[in-house]
Every structure is written in C-alpha cells, then in structure tokens.
Symmetry: C2
Subunit: 331 residues, 2 copies
Amino acid sequence: MELKKLGEFGLIDRIARLASRKHPSIIQGIGDDAAVLRLTEKESLLITTDLLTEGIHFETSSTTPYLLGKKSVAANLSDIAAMGGTPLYYVVSLSIPPRTPYEFIQKLYQGMRAQAQQYGAALVGGDTTASAAPITISIALMGTARTGTVLYRHGARRGDAVYATGFLGDAALGLLMIQKGKALSGRNRLIRRHLDPVPRVEEGKAISRLRLASSMIDISDGLVADLRHILEQSHAGATLRLSRLPLSAPYKKLCKTFSDDFYVPALCGGEDYELLFTVPPRKRHAVETWARTLTIPITHIGEITGNSGKLKILDDRDREVAISKRGFTHF
Amino acid sequence: MELKKLGEFGLIDRIARLASRKHPSIIQGIGDDAAVLRLTEKESLLITTDLLTEGIHFETSSTTPYLLGKKSVAANLSDIAAMGGTPLYYVVSLSIPPRTPYEFIQKLYQGMRAQAQQYGAALVGGDTTASAAPITISIALMGTARTGTVLYRHGARRGDAVYATGFLGDAALGLLMIQKGKALSGRNRLIRRHLDPVPRVEEGKAISRLRLASSMIDISDGLVADLRHILEQSHAGATLRLSRLPLSAPYKKLCKTFSDDFYVPALCGGEDYELLFTVPPRKRHAVETWARTLTIPITHIGEITGNSGKLKILDDRDREVAISKRGFTHF
C-alpha cells in the first residue's frame, strides 16, 4: 500500500501502534498535540515536533525567511499551548541547499528567536545539513505543565459547550489570496494571519490553570478536522452553528471574492492556530468572565452531544448542512 | 555569503550566537553532543537532535529501511551516550515521497523501535509529511543524567590520557566498500559497521557514573575532527600515536584494497559512533580495570598536551605526520 492511500491520520494510527508504551512515566504518548511525561510528582514534561517542508507548507516566494522562522516555531508553541503548557526549550534540524545565502539562515533563526523569546523558550541545539531542495525545517519543542491540569483531546462530555479563541478562517483565506497572486503588505490582515500566526500560549495556560476546560486542541488542520479529533478521543458528538463562527471583519468583507463558499475557510481551513476547547456547564460563567479580560474573542460555537463520532453543522435557520469538497449541501 | 563557503562548523558557531541563553536552567546549550537542562536539584534533562537526508547520509539502494531506522536512532543515542546520559524518549519527523510503500515506513519504525528499546528509549511523538524526494528523517532524543557526572567536550587537561572505545575506521571503510560496489552480507563486518553502528550507551553511562573521564565526545565526524572539538573547548592540545589506533582484523586485512592510505579511514572517517574520552593520570588504573570487564577494547591512543589547539600525530617511529586530503605527508 502506498502512503498516499493510507493518508496522514491512517499513518499516524499505524505508527502509534508501532510505538512502545512501556515506560510508567509516559502519561500520553503519540496521539495528542504533545507527549506528556512525568518528571516529578506534580510536574510533567511536554514534547512536540513539527516538520515544515518547502513546496508543501511554505513557498519562499510568498514569505520571508524571518516570517518563516516565526511561523515554524509558532506551530510548535501552539501544540504546547493546546496542552496548557509552558514552552521552555527547542531544537532545530534544518536541511537546506548549499547555495542558500547565509542571510537566509540568519533571518530564519532571528524569526525563530523572536517568536520563541516572546513566550520564554530558548534554542538549545540543532543539526544542519546541506542537501538538495526542498528546504526542510524540523523543530522539537519542550515545555512543562502541572500534571493535574494538562488538557487532552479526550475529556469532552455531553452538554459541554464548544469554544474557540480568536477568529477562524483568516489564515486559510490569506492562503487563497496568496494563491491568487496577492502579496503580503502591511494592510493585509488575512495574509498576515497565514504567514505570521499568533500561538495562543497565554490563553492555553490560563484555560489550564483556571481549570476551565474538559478538553482542548489547537486548530491547525481546520475547525472541523480538529473538532473531530476531540470527538474521536472523547467518544462524543457535537453540534456546530454556522451563525456563531467568529469571523473577522476582513474575512466577512473579502471571503466571497476568494472562496466559492462563505463558511468553508472558517470550517475547513487550517493553520489558524487558535485553541478549540470544551467547557462543562458549571464553568461557562468563569469562561465568560475570563474572556472579558482578553483582547481576542472567546466564542461559544457549539455543543458536545452524546451522539458518538457525529458532527452536526447547523445553518442560521437550524437546518443541518453537510460539507463536501465543493462546499456545503443541504440534506 | 553562501552556506557552502561558511561550512558546517562555521554555521553552527553563528547559530549558537543567535541562540538566546538566558534561562538559568540551561547548563549547556548549543555546542556539545546534547543540551543539558537542569530538571531538579541533582538531575538534568539531555536533548539532542539529528537529521538524516537521503543522498547525503544514506542511499536507499545500499541499506534496508530496517537498518536505516536503527541507524537514525543510533546516531541520537550516541550523542546521549557521549554525555554519560540515559536515553528515555524520542520523537520522529519524517518527510517522505507520497509514493513510498507503507512497508518501507513500517520497517523503518520497526528498526527505530528495535534500536531504542535496547537502551530503554520510547517513541512518544512525531510528524509526517508527504513531500518530494529526498527522504528526510529528523529525530530528537531526550534523556536524563545526574548533573554532577555529565561529561562535556570541555574538561580535558594537560597530562590526561586519550582513550577510545571499540575499533576505529571500520564504518568509513565499510562506506568505501559500498561505494566500490560491495553489498551488505552476513560476513561483511565493515559494511555492517557502516549500516548498523552500535551506540556505546552502557559504556558512556559507566564512564560517567564511575567518574573516569575529564571530557567525552562521540566519534561521528571522525577521530581527528572530534578530538579537535575536545581540544577547542578544553583549550588544550594533543598527541596521537598511529601505532596505538585500535584497528579491527578486517580493517587490517582489507584497508589497502579500498583506501589509498592505511590510517586515513581510522583517523578521518566518520560514523564509528565510538566514544572518545580523556582520563586524568590518577584514574588510568580504574579505566584499565573497568576495561577488562568489557567485550570491546578500550584503547589508550594518545595524550593531552598544553599546546592549545595543536594536534600532533606521530607515526610508529615517533615522526610527526600531517594529514592532507591525499592522506599523510611527513613534515
């Protein structure tokens, strides 16, 4: 069987089965945003890794090495954020063509440092190889968390409310704009959101520390795909309401110019790096109180149901819609 | 400036300068075999990462996916061994063409698992991308060590003896044999040493625990290059004696058929993954006693001198020789 047919998630499942899980210190191995490893009685080590490949995850023609560095660290920070952890250290493996100017590497690392320092993480090691194209950036990032407040993909229960931080779909719409020939400029918020996403590290820590959520994940694959990860691991279902999706003003203004369907970028677009979390009824009030202290929206977008594995999406007249490759269809 | 001109070690220096080093918990950042990070009062976390790229570090035509998996983990285990640490967890980032058969991945991970399990390390996470060639395998491995017994590249002092584990140059000679058309077979120990190196994890732990050494490194770049790393960081010089180099029986038998110079593979060939360490005079006896308990040789190959940065290589008549690209020349 070729990898192509197996698909990314099929492959992850199989690799997880190949992984040994015998250490008593492994609280969570493969299968969540980061691994969770018991360090001391109350403290755990978190580890995540992300690989960015030229031609798949980025094009050097549409970003800058500085922003590429920032984004490659942001993707890893977002995974630690999704567990409620505090980032600490990272290592970088880089495979890069020998003719690359040194300035490219310099800006790349400056971008990584700028992003990491903002959240207190330090570069502690790496490996660099001169190789044929494509450029490959592999980062492993470690953090810590109090074991008792780590948030997983499992844990969502029927009746919990589904919340998301920030706005959804901006990054996907930004990518569509780049693909249609638009370039980054100071005024273009959507392209900026694609090239320079903000990991929700502080928000993730607060959600964990305040014990607001029953489960959490970062939205890297897209709202629907990432919510499905929560549903699978929580053995639950969910209802999402299109009318509640947090859409930014530029999204509302420009979406129809660049996307055939108004909701698809918000529902299916990846790389927003917002947090998606579920909140038990008795914690709803605390979430709303906390949300008022923030400068980004925290939006109640749906509910967890007992209908295991089933994701129901309702339009503004409460009619169920289905997502297909071409957008939405009504049942 | 192009990367090509800067060279690998020039680039590492510059990246190290770009790295922030503000955490009080960072005992050792970039610049040794692994980073050393204070975990608790007495315990440190070690982190290393290695990237293997098809066409640079391996060819799928001359190895098997299983051995490739074993070797990719061995390279990382060897870095932890060189600090005297105990390996614990690893994550794998893989960039692989979509047409790769699943069986390739399966064997690759089986090889990684076989190697890791032997030393107690568990796979806890990863990332996989379908991408254009070449195949890129990036592993980050974590371990622990007692902070007080960690061994660094710095620490060698004038008068210390230089020791190496195992035999040197076998892996380099094995690579030359592959390049001249020889294939792996059960009887070929040299090619086996290139494709399936043994990381000296237990030996590294013993050297650290018994406090036998003043400095240590693994021989991944070649004896001369790695000894130079110790000399630079210890601000010391060294004398090596060709007559003392530990050469295996197959090396002695086959070296002249595959290499123009008899000593170059042992001095300059990489990927032996043996340990190179320096021993203060008062510990020499303890090293010799410990060595008798092992099945691999532990060989005294030279001395640390006060002549900072200077590496003197002596032939069997105590004449100094110089290494050039074409082999040795007498002064």
